[in-house]
């Protein structure tokens, strides 16, 4: 039958495709081996895999893998949706890694798998997000409240301490994101009484929507002086909206995250300050800690639950400073 042979003809190239793509991942495993220390297997699962933030974290993670002789597997969907991330985590756990680093995109959905892993003797460290129950060994993430404060000071300075300011956040349910807004808002209310805050906008992961929201605010408030965006999609969207309104330089823009596009626009004057989180350190410290836990060089009980990497503010004054370059986000190491 023609259909049967057609299928068998297609099966062969399909198998070939899978075998070839199976050969690709060898490049993704850190190969460092020292004579004395034997390599251990650690898995690192993230979401939003195309984001420069996570790509920078990957650089830190693989640097730590090399330094600690770890065979690191890096996996995660490109989507900002915890369901495929959970499926990816389940599949990764089938390989029985000795340690796990996870960037959980939901505070509840990952509690069960992390609990199971910890019970099975696999130390788990979470980065960037957090779980609503403290079931893992350590959580490493930006102190968003403190970083929001830094951003508030930077924006207040840029707009001269008075005027209307708009905050753009991701969605009320993402705690790590709302903390950035809260830290900012609290600092403004406490130290800058002459600055008035417009209602927070939550456009979510849609850059079109974010751009529209900022444009609408610019239209509605001709005395809008500053915009603070808490995540990269909104930052780029706000920049585009401000440029389109012809108000670059008049409306000061402070953004969370320092991905390459934002750095370029900081230098060109569209952004006035960037909050540089430290994904490199999150990746580096988490893998280093997990390696130590797996090798029983530290006991889980001795590890403090919450760790905060240092955040920085980048402005046009310090953007070219040599010490800052390592922390700015990259798309490749």
């Amino acid at each position: 039958m023609k259909t049967r042979s057609l299928i068998s003809q297609l099966l062969a190239p399909a198998m070939g495709l899978i075998l070839v793509t199976g050969a690709v991942p060898q490049a993704m495993h850190a190969q460092a081996r020292s004579a004395a220390v034997s390599s251990i297997n650690v898995a690192f699962v993230i979401d939003d895999g195309a984001d420069p933030f996570y790509l920078t974290m990957k650089c830190g993670a693989f640097a730590a893998a090399k330094a600690s002789t770890v065979n690191l597997t890096w996996q995660g969907p490109a989507a900002i949706d915890f369901q495929p991330e959970l499926q990816t985590l389940n599949a990764v756990m089938q390989r029985h890694p000795q340690g796990l680093v996870l960037a959980p995109f939901d505070p509840n959905a990952f509690i069960q798998p992390v609990k199971q892993a910890m019970k099975a003797g696999i130390p788990v460290v979470t980065v960037d997000g957090s779980l609503s129950a403290k079931v893992e060994v350590q959580n490493i993430r930006t102190n968003n409240i403190a970083a929001g404060k830094l951003a508030a000071d930077a924006l207040a300075k840029a707009i001269g301490g008075q005027g209307k300011v708009l905050i753009v956040a991701l969605s009320p349910g993402v705690v790590a994101n709302t903390e950035r807004a809260t830290g900012f808002a609290n600092e403004i209310k406490a130290k800058y009484p002459k600055i008035s805050l417009l209602p927070i906008q939550f456009p979510g992961g849609d850059s079109n929507k974010a751009s529209q929201d900022v444009s609408a605010a610019i239209q509605a408030h001709s005395d809008l002086k500053g915009v603070y965006t808490t995540y990269a999609i909104a930052s780029n969207a706000a920049a585009s909206a401000i440029l389109a309104a012809g108000k670059r330089g008049q409306i000061k823009l402070v953004a969370y995250d320092a991905d390459p596009n934002e750095v370029r626009q900081l230098k060109s004057g569209t952004f006035d300050a960037l909050v540089v989180q430290n994904p490199y350190q999150e990746g580096f410290d988490s893998v280093t800690l997990v390696a130590k836990l797996v090798r029983h060089q530290i006991s889980a009980g001795a590890v403090k639950y919450q760790a905060y990497p240092t955040s920085y503010i980048a402005t046009r004054e310090n953007i070219n400073a040599p010490w800052l370059q390592k922390y700015l986000y990259k798309v490749s190491c």
Binding site: I18, Q75, F82, Q83, T88, H96, D106, N108
Partner: protein, 359 residues
């Protein structure tokens, strides 16, 4: 009058997918071999064999992996089962992701409000957990059916194409979900729902949600294959005009199909809540397309008239098997999207060729 078969008997042998009455074993085998679903099933078995052979330590071939995949596939499969009937009748439903989300939000809020007062729930105590979950389940499924009924009314009464209607209700459903939930995932869902059902197994072997979907599949298979209702669904998809002339109440029938699809989305909303212990406001964007792809890969025709429950189940398995296998192999999950897209096109192509050859 209504007992006369819709299609002339002579053509029944040559048109696979149209349910017939009894036929002998050779006829059954010939029927199965003629379906796209069977060949897709072979492809999946081949993939399982390849992944089992080539993953390090044969990690793919572990009971825990098969159990995880069985759980992963559940939500898409429930939607694909409902979509089989919708596509079989020549309609489309793009709103099922939004429907699922709204059901899970309403069910979740019902459960949280009924299980105890605010203070108790926030501290993790749920004095009225059992009844709350029961009522929540009913609320979720009824919400799904009401959503489906709205779709059904708009499609049959206003006579707007189901593509446009469900595109519109998808947006409306999403918007209502955000309004009702305030954009936040419903908090404090009792963990027992997840532990005792969502991630629980029968005899430590079969995940409970998978049992639910298998039961639904068995019931729907029977309806499609052995009842007049199923036959009429395919007749409506084959030729709307001929069905009307044959005396089928097509509008009422299509309305029921949309309510059925809505019920499936409602069930899925509860399964989602149970599996993750939370709603997923940011997700479900591609649920409808995933269900349609699964159904079509399994041999159901996009143009109506040909449908396969078994095929829908097999089609749902494909992205999960591929995605899981690729991750265990260490390949980036991005490739999965490409391969599934290619296989979808191949499946439709095979289906086209097979039907062209038969005409």
């Amino acid at each position: 009058m209504t007992d006369r078969p819709i299609l002339p008997l002579a053509s029944q042998e040559d048109t696979p997918g149209i349910p017939r009455g009894r036929y002998g074993v050779p006829g059954l085998a010939k029927h199965i071999l003629g379906t796209t679903g069977f060949w897709m099933g072979l492809v999946i078995l081949a993939l399982i064999a390849i992944f089992s052979a080539f993953t390090p330590d044969h990690a793919f071939f572990q009971l825990s992996n098969f159990q995880d995949m069985a759980l992963d596939v559940t939500e898409t499969m429930v939607l694909a089962l409902g979509m089989t009937f919708i596509l079989g009748a020549g309609e489309l439903d793009l709103s099922i992701g939004a429907n699922l989300l709204l059901s899970s939000v309403l069910a979740g809020q019902t459960i949280v409000h009924l299980a105890g007062n605010t203070a108790q729930v926030a501290s993790g105590a749920y004095p009225h957990e059992g009844p709350a979950i029961a009522v929540g389940t009913v609320v979720g499924i009824v919400s799904g059916m009401v959503f489906g009924a709205v779709n059904g009314i708009l499609v049959t009464m206003l006579r707007i194409s189901s593509f446009i209607v469900t595109l519109g209700t998808m947006g409306i459903g999403l918007g209502i979900s955000y309004v009702v939930s305030n954009g936040v995932n419903v908090a404090y869902i009792p963990l027992d729902l997840q532990l005792n059902f969502g991630v629980n197994r029968l005899g430590n072997l079969i995940p409970l949600p998978t049992l639910v979907v298998l039961t639904i599949a068995a019931v729907l298979w029977y309806v499609l294959f052995a009842t007049r209702f199923g036959l009429r669904t395919l007749a409506i998809g084959s030729s709307r005009e001929a069905s009307v002339r044959a005396g089928i109440h097509t509008r009422r029938h299509v309305f029921i199909l949309f309510v059925l699809m809505g019920a499936m989305a409602g069930v899925d909303g509860m399964l989602d809540l149970a599996r993750f212990g939370t709603t997923n406001i940011g997700g479900h964007q591609t649920d409808a397309l995933g269900a349609i792809a699964a159904t079509v890969i399994g041999g159901t025709s996009l143009f109506g008239g040909v449908a396969s429950i078994g095929g829908a189940m097999i089609g749902s398995l494909l992205p999960t098997v591929l995605g899981t296998g690729l991750v265990i192999l260490g390949v980036a999950t991005f490739y999965q999207l490409i391969v599934v897209g290619i296989i979808l096109i191949i499946a439709v192509y095979i289906d086209q060729r097979r039907r062209n050859r038969l005409n």
